[in-house]
């Protein structure tokens, strides 16, 4: 027996296109179900808690407040020696807001299918919907984060510009990448429950391995080089262009972010599709 990962030829263009088309077909057929489950996912996540859905806003808000306070005030981070704290805060938030959304989605990804064993096992259920709802369920967090960033930029006079028009491209790219990553993790999570802990550790480290908290030029050279290895770095640079600089300062990021995100999405979905027939054995 060969390793089960061999049949996935990731550069096979026709297979990739076919997978993407299949995904669109499923999404179209079950659009009501996908929407309903995502809606309930967001609504029910804090069900039974005293403040209820307020946590959907409160949780990312508090996290961002803590990081901004720590890095802008305790560590006195500034973009330039004479820069304002608010400028640095917007800079950090532009990377942090998408990161928190990613953290939320990926943290729940390994159990997306595993936690719904009764659905997958016992009824004829489109299991593709489960990771999708987890990925899309992080959208409110992303929106809250982006709104806070924009609000802070406007309130403190850092200002917001035409770059905002580019934001939809970045958000769409991030969503695609998230969906793909969640698919991979959800698929593997069914068989290897350890993946949950691995992901949680990687997410904690990941915050420091991406250009999120470091002002330009302050990260060690080795780390600067490492940034280029992660597709998520390009997304963050795009977010910064859109939210802070108001112009395309890194054209390579604007090309690579959508391309890599699409690739992650298609390959992630194909991994999931390959593992899906075996779910019944492991659940």
């Amino acid at each position: 027996m060969t390793s089960i990962l061999t049949p996935l030829k990731i550069f096979d263009a026709s297979a990739n296109v076919a997978a993407a088309r299949e995904f669109v077909t499923i999404l179209y057929r079950y659009q009501d179900l996908a929407w309903e489950m995502t809606r309930r996912d967001v609504r029910d996540r804090y069900k039974g808690q005293a403040l209820g859905s307020l946590w959907a806003i409160g949780h990312p808000l508090l996290l961002m407040a803590v990081y901004v306070f720590a890095f802008a005030f305790l560590f006195r981070g500034r973009l330039s020696p004479e820069g304002e704290w608010s400028e640095y805060a917007v800079y950090v938030l532009a990377g942090l807001a998408p990161w928190i959304a990613l953290q939320e989605a990926l943290g729940r990804a390994p159990t997306a299918v595993l936690g719904n064993a009764n659905l997958v096992k016992q009824i004829i259920f489109p299991s593709e919907i489960l990771p999708l709802k987890v990925a899309l369920g992080a959208t409110p967090t992303l929106i809250v984060g982006l709104c806070v960033t924009v609000a802070l930029a406007v309130a403190t006079g850092v200002g917001i510009g035409v770059g905002l028009l580019l934001l939809p491209i970045v958000v769409a790219s991030q969503t695609l990448a998230l969906v793909g990553l969640v698919y991979v993790l959800a698929g593997i999570g069914v068989f290897l429950r350890d993946i949950k802990d691995i992901v949680s550790v990687l997410l904690s480290i990941g915050l420091f391995l991406h250009p999120i908290l470091y002002a330009p030029g302050t990260a060690p050279a080795a780390l600067e080089a490492a940034f280029y290895a992660s597709p998520f770095s390009y997304l963050i640079w795009c977010y910064r262009d859109a939210l802070l600089y108001g112009e395309i300062t890194r054209p390579e990021a604007w090309i690579l972010a959508p391309v890599l995100s699409t690739a992650i999405f298609v390959i992630g979905y194909r991994c999931f599709r390959m593992l899906r027939p075996m779910f019944g054995n492991a659940l």
Binding site: N118, K121, Q122, I123, I124
Partner: protein, 431 residues
């Protein structure tokens, strides 16, 4: 129906099958620990044991066929249903299903316990591929069928298991599937709902849909299925007329597998009066003769209700018997049990505690046979008190109940001998 109802593992020929199962096999990989799986994936070296749940299962189901799957726990019934439903992959062979499938694989499955019945109808319908608008259109019908109007906004977890079954069945059948798969879900509802479900299943059948159901109740299978398939250790051991398959299943459940060879051939001296006759047992005692004695003392198979008849069972011990229990069962031609009892429940003066080899015993049962005019079958059995059967002779005697004039509906099964009275109620004068 098959002209020759003999149980057979040969595949039946079905025209335009809706479900085609061909050489289906399923091995589960059993890993000693999750780590073994990781090692196997990374190194490509086999680290698992195979457990065979299904092996070479083949059958076709045609339109309008209601097929019952029987078999002991672990025989592979649920695995088979799950593969046909598509929630599990097969290791070998193929399954082709032409049309939309709806399945009730486990009670309340796919339903969220915290959501209300209303929300669950929507979610369940969406899972089955309906749109919100389609569900909204069928919503009232689903609720009406489940008879849960008063509870529809309460959380699903507060429902009794019967209520959960009702809602599950209502949702699963509302999509008008071409194939309906039901795993034991029908046994939970109350009798009234069971009747309604059977009616719906018959309606499906009339419209040419195929139904596949698992049940442990032989009676249920016999009364609603056209055909039964018996699974044992992942293989089809019998496929055919439900009554016959039910008997084989009963034999496999209670008969000793080691001495199976003695069944049917164990010294049956009497001419078989019924071609449905089927015997099994370990042969430590045999039933030499079963007959009915009329009021005049002569043998008869034609019963006029109201007279007193005696069922006579002649038994011979072939070995020393540690205990003796004699029973009988009257079944309709459909195979429905109408009445059955044995000497544990009804006192039988003169019944010995034990029997020596060669000893003979005659048991007589007096009864007026209050049955509706029809054909019936008598089953007789002699067993040890620990439930091992010395010999069971299913449907070994066929008899008719006659009546000269019609006193009841043709569909009646028993004659409860009612007496009726009426009086005209005077209408009260209006003030």
């Amino acid at each position: 129906m098959l002209p020759n109802a003999s149980p057979d593992v040969r595949q039946r020929v079905v025209k335009n099958p809706i479900i085609s199962v061909d050489g289906l096999g399923k091995n589960f990989r059993v890993y000693a620990s999750p780590r073994e799986l990781l090692v196997e994936v990374l190194t490509g070296r086999q680290r698992h044991r195979d457990f065979t749940a299904l092996n070479g299962v083949s059958f076709d189901v045609g339109p309008g066929e209601v097929v019952g799957l029987m078999g002991r726990n672990g025989a592979g019934k649920s695995t088979l249903l799950r593969i046909i439903a598509g929630t599990l992959d097969a290791t070998a062979g193929s399954v082709v299903v032409r049309g939309r499938i709806s399945a009730i694989l486990e009670l309340g499955s796919g339903f969220h316990p915290e959501y209300s019945g209303r929300d669950n109808i929507y979610l369940g319908g969406l899972c089955l591929g309906l749109t919100r608008a389609e569900i909204a259109r069928r919503f009232d019908e689903i609720v009406a069928f489940s008879e849960l109007e008063a509870f529809i906004d309460r959380p699903f977890r507060t429902y009794s298991s019967g209520m959960q079954a009702r809602l599950t069945f209502s949702v699963a059948t509302c999509v008008d599937p071409d194939v309906l798969i039901v795993d034991e879900a029908l046994s939970v509802g109350d009798a009234r709902f069971q009747l309604k479900s059977f009616e719906r299943i018959r309606d499906f059948k009339r419209r040419g849909k195929s139904i596949l159901l698992v049940s442990h109740s032989i009676n249920q299978v016999v009364s609603i299925c056209d055909r039964a398939i018996l699974l044992e250790q992942g293989k089809v051991v019998a496929d055919g007329e439900p009554n016959k398959i039910g008997q084989i299943y009963h034999q496999r459940l209670f008969g000793p597998p080691a001495r199976e060879a003695t069944s049917s051939s164990a010294g049956i001296a009497v001419p078989e009066t019924s071609d449905r006759h089927h015997a099994y047992g370990d042969g430590r005692a045999v039933i030499n003769d079963v007959f009915i004695e009329g009021p005049d003392g002569s043998r008869t198979t034609s019963i006029v209700p109201g007279e007193t008849y005696r069922i006579v069972i002649d038994i011979e011990a072939k070995e020393a018997l540690p205990s003796v229990c004699v029973g009988f069962l009257v079944r309709s031609s459909w195979g429905i049990d109408l009445y059955g009892t044995d000497t544990r429940f009804v006192p039988c003066p003169g019944l010995p505690q034990t029997m020596a080899p060669g000893e003979r015993l005659r048991v007589t049962i007096e009864t007026p046979f209050n049955l509706a005019p029809n054909t019936y079958f008598l089953t007789a059995g002699v067993a040890n008190l620990d439930e091992t059967k010395y010999q069971m002779r299913f449907d070994c005697l066929e008899f008719q109940v006659r009546q000269d004039r019609t006193t009841m509906f043709m569909s009646s099964l028993v004659d409860i001998r009612p007496s009726m009275a009426a009086c005209v109620v005077q209408e009260r004068e209006r003030a």
